[in-house]
C-alpha cells in the first residue's frame, strides 16, 4: 500500500542504515524513515540490529535540516515490538537495564529532533513500536483492520521500558493510559483516534501522503485532554483517586500474583510527579528487575506456546512432500447436547457453514437459542457488526434429518458416549461424505482406536476434544489415534486455530491429557473432604495458589455426573492410583450435580452471576454413607496444597513418559490453558523445576506411604532430579517470535 519508493517518484533515496532503515528526502524537504523488517520476518522487530539501526538513523537525522520527518513501516505493519526471544534470554539485570537505557535515549533523541515528526502507522504497532510513535510529535493510523496499537508488555510479565509509561499518560490521560497498559489490550485505528492516541484515521493507500500533508500544513486543531482526564492526571488528588482504584483492582484476579502491574502503576505515577529523568531511570530499573524475574520467563514461555500452537499444523506437515490440504469450511455436527450445541455455534460464528443434527427438536431449539443469544450479545458489545452477526446466525442450521454429508468438510460427533452408535455414525459418514471428509469425535472417554477400527479411511479420524463451555475454553486437544494421518491432524489443528483456540496434539489414551491430569487433583480434593477438611478451605488453598477456582467449585461447574464418568474411565485404566471415591456416585444419586442442578458442594442462585453459597450436603453425605476417613492430624495449608498439586505433576510426568504429549513445553502449556494452572508458575513441570525436583521427589516418597500410589514419583521425575540441570530457562531455537517487548 505505501511503498513510497514507487508511488511517490519525486522522492530520492539518500541513505540506507544497515539493512533495516531506509532514509529519503522529497522535493518538499520532508524526510522519510522507512522501517525494514528483520530478515525472514514480516515486520520490523526491535532486536539488537534493529535498535542499532534506529540509533544510527537518529544520529544521521540530527545532522539534517528539513521541514519534517515521517516514520513508516511497510504494507504489513509498523513495528511488532521488541524481540521476545531477547527478553527470554536476558539473565543479567544489568544487561536488561542497559538495553532499556539505550532504547530510552534513542527514542529521546527522536523526540529532540529539531523538526516536526510524524508516525504513519499501518498494521501492528505494538510495544516498543508504539513507544517510538509516542516519542514523535504526531501520529496517524490507517483504517485497515490489521492496524492495532498497544502496549501489551504486561502480558509477558514486564512493562514498557522505552519511555512508554512516561509518555502515554501525557497523551491520553492517566486513567486511559493505565487501562491500556494494565490490560495489555490493543486498539484499532478508530478506537485509537477516539482515545486521542492518534490524530488521523486515514485510508491506508493515502497514509504516507496524508502524513506529509499534515507536516507541511501544521495541525489546525490540537488534541487536548478532556477536563476530567486532565484533573485525574495532573492534580495530586486526581492521581490519588486513580491510584486507589487501580490498586484495588490489582488485588484480585491473576494480577495479584504478578509483580509487573504494581510496578507499572508506580513507575507511571512517578513520571507524572518527577518531570526530570528520574522516572525514566525508575522505568528502566523496573524493566530490568521484571525481565529477569521468573514470572516474566514463565509468561514468555507460554507466549511461545501460543505461537507454537498456531504453527502446529505446519509442524505436522513438515515431513510431507505434499503439504496441501483443503481448509475446513463447513461442518456437520451430530448431537445437539451441551457440547454439540456449543461447538456448532462456535463454528458458525467463526465462519463455517454448520449443520447441527439432533433427533430432538427441543435440543435443537435450545442450541439455536444459545447461538442466537451469544451472537446478539457480541453484537450489543460491538464485537460483531450487524451484518456479521446476521451471517453468524445464518450459518447455523438445525435439523432432525441426518444428512448434508456432501457439503461437509468435517463431520463431528458429539453424541452420547456409546461406541456402537459412534462407529455407525462414522461408517455412514465415510460412505456418504467426500473422500477427504475429516471425521472428528468429541468423546472424552472412548478409545479412538476402537472407533477407527473398521472405517474405510481410518486415517481421517481424529479427536477434537473441546472443553466445556466450548465458546470460552481456550484449548482443544487434538487427539491422534494410531492411524490418523498427519494431514487430517493438521487440518484439525488449523480448524482449531481458526476457531480461536489453541490446539495441543495428544495421543489417544484414557482421559487423554487434560482430564487425566485434572482427575487426581479433583480426586484429592474429595478425599480431603472425606478426611474432614472444610470444602471452602480446600478451594481457598487452590485459589491462593493461583487457580481460577478451587477444585470443588470446579467439580460443581463441570457437574458431578460428568466428572464421575471421567473418573470411572481412568479408574478402569489405572485402578491402583485412580480409583474414584464412591462419593461421586452418591453425589449423583442424591441429585447434587453442581451448578446445573442448583446444588452440589455449594448452593447456587438462579443467575449464573450469583455467588455460590455454602451447603453442608457434601459433609452430611460423607457422614451418612460412612465415608469419613480417619486422619492422623488436620492437614496444614501447605499439606493441602501438596496433596492437590503434586498429583497433577506426577500424572503429567507419566503422560510425558508414555508419550501422550510430546514435550514439556506443550504439556505445561496445555495445563495452563486446559485446567487453568497458574500461568505465572509456568505449568506443573516448570514449577517443579524451579522448586527443585529433588525436594519434590523426597516429599513424594513421604506422601506415597500415607496416601497411596498416586504420589509415587514417576521414573522420569526421578531422572529429572538426578540430572539436576538447573531449572534455568534455555533459549529455544524457534524463539524468533516477536511481539510486545
Amino acid at each position: 500500500m505505501m511503498q513510497t519508493q514507487e508511488d511517490m517518484n519525486d522522492k530520492k533515496q539518500v541513505e540506507v542504515i544497515g539493512d533495516r532503515c531506509r532514509l529519503s528526502r522529497d522535493d518538499a524537504d520532508l524526510l522519510y524513515l522507512e522501517l525494514i523488517p528483520t530478515q525472514g520476518e514480516a515486520l520490523f522487530i526491535i532486536d539488537e540490529t534493529g535498535l542499532t539501526a534506529l540509533e544510527e538513523a537518529v544520529v544521521w537525522l540530527g545532522k539534517q535540516e528539513a521541514k519534517g520527518l515521517v516514520v513508516h513501516g511497510n504494507d504489513r505493519g509498523f513495528i511488532a515490538g521488541a524481540d521476545v526471544g531477547l527478553i527470554y534470554s536476558i539473565q543479567d539485570p544489568k544487561e536488561a537495564l542497559a538495553f532499556s537505557r539505550r532504547g530510552q535515549s534513542c527514542f529521546q533523541a527522536f523526540q529532540d529532533l529539531p523538526f516536526p515528526t510524524m508516525a504513519a502507522i499501518h498494521g501492528p504497532c505494538l510495544g516498543g513500536g508504539l513507544e517510538l510513535a509516542l516519542a514523535l510529535d504526531h501520529r496517524i493510523a490507517s483504517r485497515h483492520p490489521s492496524t492495532k496499537l498497544g502496549l501489551p508488555e504486561v502480558r509477558l510479565g514486564i512493562l514498557p521500558g522505552f519511555g512508554g509509561t512516561q509518555r502515554l499518560p501525557l497523551l491520553v490521560g492517566l486513567p486511559g493510559a493505565l487501562d491500556l497498559m494494565l490490560k495489555g489490550s490493543t486498539l484499532d485505528g478508530k478506537r485509537a483516534l477516539r482515545k486521542g492516541l492518534v490524530e488521523g484515521y486515514v485510508p491506508e493507500h493515502r497514509l504516507v501522503q496524508r502524513a506529509a500533508e499534515i507536516l507541511t500544513h501544521p495541525a489546525r486543531r490540537k488534541t487536548k485532554l478532556c477536563w476530567r482526564d486532565h484533573m485525574l492526571t495532573f492534580t495530586r488528588l486526581g492521581r490519588r483517586i486513580v491510584r486507589k482504584k487501580v490498586e484495588k483492582s490489582l488485588t484480585s484476579g491473576p494480577a495479584r500474583f504478578l509483580p509487573a502491574p504494581g510496578k507499572l502503576l508506580e513507575v507511571t505515577l512517578a513520571g507524572l510527579v518527577d518531570v526530570g529523568r528520574g522516572a525514566y531511570d525508575a522505568e528502566a530499573q523496573a524493566l530490568a528487575d521484571l525481565a529477569t524475574g521468573p514470572e516474566c520467563k514463565n509468561l514468555v514461555r507460554l507466549f511461545f506456546g501460543t505461537e507454537q500452537a498456531r504453527k502446529l499444523d505446519r509442524k505436522l506437515l513438515s515431513g510431507l512432500e505434499d503439504k496441501h490440504y483443503e481448509k475446513v469450511r463447513s461442518a456437520l455436527v451430530i448431537g445437539g447436547g451441551v457440547m454439540g450445541a456449543g461447538i456448532a455455534g462456535l463454528m458458525a460464528e467463526k465462519g463455517l457453514s454448520t449443520r447441527l443434527v439432533d433427533l430432538s427438536e427441543d435440543q435443537l431449539g435450545q442450541a439455536m437459542a444459545r447461538h442466537v443469544g451469544n451472537v446478539n450479545r457480541k453484537q450489543r458489545r460491538r464485537r460483531l457488526q450487524p451484518h456479521e452477526a446476521q451471517a453468524a446466525k445464518d450459518r447455523l442450521t438445525a435439523s432432525t434429518k441426518v444428512c448434508g454429508y456432501a457439503q461437509a468438510d468435517v463431520f463431528l460427533e458429539a453424541v452420547a458416549e456409546n461406541l456402537d452408535l459412534k462407529k455407525r455414525l462414522f461408517r455412514e459418514a465415510a460412505a456418504k461424505g467426500r473422500e477427504d471428509l475429516l471425521l472428528a469425535t468429541n468423546t472424552s472417554s472412548l478409545s479412538l482406536g476402537d472407533m477407527a477400527a473398521d472405517l474405510p479411511h481410518p486415517e481421517q479420524l481424529v479427536g477434537l476434544h473441546f472443553f466445556n463451555p466450548p465458546e470460552k475454553m481456550p484449548l482443544i486437544e487434538i487427539i491422534a489415534q494410531k492411524q490418523s494421518s498427519p494431514k487430517a491432524l493438521a487440518r484439525a489443528c488449523e480448524l482449531a486455530t481458526r476457531l480461536g483456540k489453541y490446539p495441543v496434539l495428544v495421543q489417544d489414551g484414557p482421559g487423554f491429557l487434560v482430564n487425566r491430569c485434572l482427575a487426581p487433583y479433583l480426586g484429592q480434593a474429595v478425599q480431603l473432604c472425606e478426611e474432614g477438611v472444610a470444602p471452602a478451605l480446600i478451594d481457598r488453598v487452590a485459589e491462593e495458589q493461583g487457580m481460577p477456582m478451587g477444585p470443588l467449585r470446579l467439580l460443581d461447574e463441570i457437574g458431578w455426573d460428568v466428572a464421575a464418568k471421567v473418573c470411572d474411565v481412568l479408574a478402569e485404566a489405572w485402578p491402583a492410583r485412580m480409583s474414584a471415591s464412591p462419593l461421586f456416585a452418591h453425589m449423583v444419586e442424591a441429585g447434587l450435580l453442581g451448578r446445573k442442578s442448583g446444588k452440589g458442594v455449594y448452593v447456587y442462585g438462579t443467575k449464573s452471576k450469583d455467588r455460590p453459597g455454602h451447603a453442608s450436603a457434601l459433609q452430611h453425605l460423607i457422614q451418612d454413607k460412612g465415608l469419613a476417613r480417619a486422619s492422623a492430624h488436620a492437614p496444614s495449608k501447605l499439606e493441602i496444597r501438596e496433596r492437590l498439586f503434586l498429583p497433577i505433576l506426577t500424572e503429567a510426568v507419566r503422560c510425558l513418559e508414555e508419550g501422550v504429549v510430546s514435550s514439556e513445553d506443550e504439556l505445561d502449556f496445555a495445563m495452563v490453558m486446559g485446567i487453568g494452572y497458574p500461568p505465572h508458575l509456568g505449568g506443573p513441570i516448570r514449577a517443579a523445576r524451579s522448586d527443585g525436583v529433588e525436594t519434590i521427589v523426597a516429599r513424594l516418597s513421604e506422601l506415597v506411604e500415607a496416601h497411596g500410589p498416586l504420589f509415587e514419583a514417576p521414573r522420569m521425575l526421578i531422572e529429572m532430579s538426578q540430572e539436576q540441570t538447573s531449572a534455568r530457562p534455555q533459549k529455544k531455537e524457534e524463539s524468533h517470535v516477536q511481539d510486545p517487548r
Binding site: Q390, A391, D394, T397, C403
Partner: protein
C-alpha cells in the same frame, strides 16, 4: 396467446427435493422476519436433503412479490446468506401469485437449453414485512425541508406541515389492488361470485372444507416432512406447524363474519378468503441426467407449464383457462389428473372456476371448445386443504402447490397432477407434473 412450455420426453426437468417453512399468518409466528430471513434455512436444508454441495448449484431463481427495499433482488441476498458461492448468479421473479411457479418454469427452460443442470428455485414472502409508506404530500414536504438552506426557510417550511401527512400508504393494500381496473382483489372475487351466482353459503362451506382437509392432513402426519422447523427471533419458540387451519372451524362462525370488501352487499369475508401470510419454500430442480448421475431419486417430472392472460377484473378465472389449456396442449386427458392443486385466493374464485369449466358457454367462448371442458371431481381438488386455510404468501405459494402436489402423488404411488393459480393483474398459470 403463447403456446405452453412442453419439454419433450426424456428431457423433462425433475424435482429432487423440496421443503418449506410452516406458513404463519402475518404478524404471528414470523413477525419481524424479512423475506430473506425466512428463506435462509430452507435453502440450506433442501441442498442437504439432496446431498448437493452449494457450489454445484448453477443458479438461484426465487419468486417474491413484495420485495423489501432493504433486500433488492432478494434471491441474490438469500443465495449469499445461505452460503451459495458468490460466483453463482441469482435473480428474483415476479409474476404476482404465480411467482413461485414461474421460478420453476424459468429454471426448467434453462435446463432444457443446457445452460445449467441444477437450479435452486422456490419463493419467499414476508407479508408482515410490507411497509407503511409516507404519502406523497409528506414526501414533498420532507424534500422541500431538506432543500431549505436557511433557518428561516426551514421554519417557514415546517409551518406548512399538515396532519394529513401522517396518513400512511399501506403497501399491502396497494399491492393487492389492481391499478388498471381499480379493484382490490377481493372485489374481483365479488364480481365472479355475482356473475357465477356463488352464494355466501357455498363459499363458507368451501372454506370450512379447506380447513378440515388441512387439519386432517396434519393430524394424519402427512405434513411433517414437508416442513422445516424454524426458531425465529431469539429462538425461544419453534415454528413448525401452519397456523392458518383452525381445528374448531364451523359454519356458524364463518357465517357470522361481515363481508370485508363490499361491506353492504358482498359475500367475500376474511373467513372464506385466504389470510395474509408469511412463508418460504425451496425446491431443487435438475436435469434428469444430473439427478441420475448423483443417484438421486426424483420426486417428479415436469410435463407442461403454461401462462394465460385475461381481463384483470376477472383474474380469478385464470385457472379455468390455464389448466384446460395446459392439459390440451400437453395432449392429456383431464381425467388423468389425479390431484388438482388450485390455489384458493378466494373461495368464490375457485368455485367460479369450477362453474366455468362446467359451463358450455365458457368452453366455447373462452377455451375454443365445442362444449364444456368439465370440472374435476371435488375430491381431487386440494385434498390437503388450500390457501383459505393454509394462507397465501404470494411469492411462495406456487412452489408450495408443486411440492404438495408431488408429495400427494408420491403417496398415491404415482400419477399426474396439476398445480394452477389465478394471478392478480389478470393472468392464470398452470403446471402439470408426473410423479417419478
Amino acid at each position: 396467446m403463447s403456446r405452453s412450455f412442453i419439454p419433450e420426453k426424456g428431457k423433462r426437468p425433475v424435482l429432487v427435493a423440496g421443503i418449506r417453512t410452516a406458513f404463519q399468518k402475518s404478524g404471528t409466528g414470523f413477525q419481524g422476519l424479512s423475506a430473506a430471513d425466512l428463506g435462509v434455512a430452507v435453502m440450506q436444508e433442501v441442498l442437504a436433503r439432496a446431498e448437493i454441495r452449494a457450489s454445484e448449484v448453477d443458479e438461484v431463481i426465487l419468486g417474491c412479490c413484495g420485495q423489501s427495499s432493504k433486500e433488492a433482488n432478494v434471491a441474490r441476498v438469500l443465495s449469499l446468506r445461505a452460503g451459495i458461492p458468490s460466483e453463482t448468479p441469482a435473480y428474483t421473479v415476479h409474476r404476482n401469485c404465480a411467482s413461485g411457479l414461474q421460478s420453476i418454469e424459468d429454471a426448467a427452460r434453462r435446463i432444457l437449453t443446457g445452460e445449467g443442470e441444477i437450479y435452486l428455485v422456490g419463493g419467499t414472502e414476508s407479508m408482515s414485512d410490507y411497509p407503511l409508506i409516507f404519502n406523497d404530500g409528506f414526501k414533498s414536504f420532507l424534500g422541500a425541508l431538506a432543500r431549505s438552506k436557511t433557518l428561516t426557510a426551514r421554519l417557514r417550511q415546517l409551518l406548512r406541515f399538515r396532519l394529513g401527512y401522517l396518513k400512511p400508504r399501506i403497501a399491502l393494500l396497494e399491492g393487492l389492488t389492481d391499478p388498471t381496473c381499480g379493484l382490490v382483489m377481493g372485489l374481483t372475487a365479488e364480481k365472479l361470485a355475482g356473475e357465477f351466482a356463488i352464494s355466501r353459503k357455498q363459499q363458507d362451506l368451501f372454506a370450512l372444507a379447506s380447513h378440515q382437509k388441512a387439519i386432517d392432513a396434519w393430524s394424519a402426519g402427512l405434513m411433517d416432512d414437508e416442513i422445516l422447523t424454524l426458531w425465529p427471533g431469539n429462538a425461544k419458540k419453534a415454528v413448525n406447524r401452519d397456523n392458518g387451519p383452525r381445528d374448531g372451524q364451523n359454519l356458524d362462525a364463518l357465517s357470522k363474519l361481515r363481508p370485508f370488501f363490499d361491506r353492504r352487499e358482498g359475500s367475500v369475508t376474511v373467513g372464506n378468503a385466504c389470510p395474509v401470510t408469511d412463508g418460504s419454500a425451496a425446491l431443487l430442480l435438475m436435469s434428469e441426467e444430473a439427478a441420475e448421475a448423483r443417484g438421486l431419486k426424483p420426486m417428479g417430472r415436469m410435463l407442461c407449464s403454461t401462462t394465460v392472460g385475461l381481463e384483470p377484473s376477472r383474474m380469478g378465472l385464470g385457472p379455468a383457462i390455464a389448466a384446460p389449456k395446459a392439459i390440451q396442449d400437453a395432449g392429456l386427458d383431464a381425467k388423468d389428473m389425479e390431484v388438482w392443486e388450485i390455489n384458493e385466493a378466494f373461495s368464490a374464485q375457485v368455485l367460479a372456476c369450477m362453474e366455468a369449466m362446467d359451463s358450455a358457454e365458457f368452453g366455447r367462448k373462452r377455451l375454443g371448445l365445442s362444449g364444456a371442458f368439465g370440472a374435476p371431481d371435488m375430491d381431487r381438488v386440494n385434498p390437503r386443504g388450500g390457501a383459505v386455510a393454509l394462507g397465501h404468501p404470494v411469492g411462495a405459494t406456487g412452489s408450495r402447490l408443486v411440492l404438495s402436489l408431488l408429495r400427494q402423488l408420491q403417496a398415491k404411488g404415482g400419477g399426474m397432477g396439476i398445480a394452477t393459480l389465478c394471478v392478480g393483474g389478470g393472468q392464470g398459470a398452470a403446471q402439470i407434473w408426473e410423479a417419478a
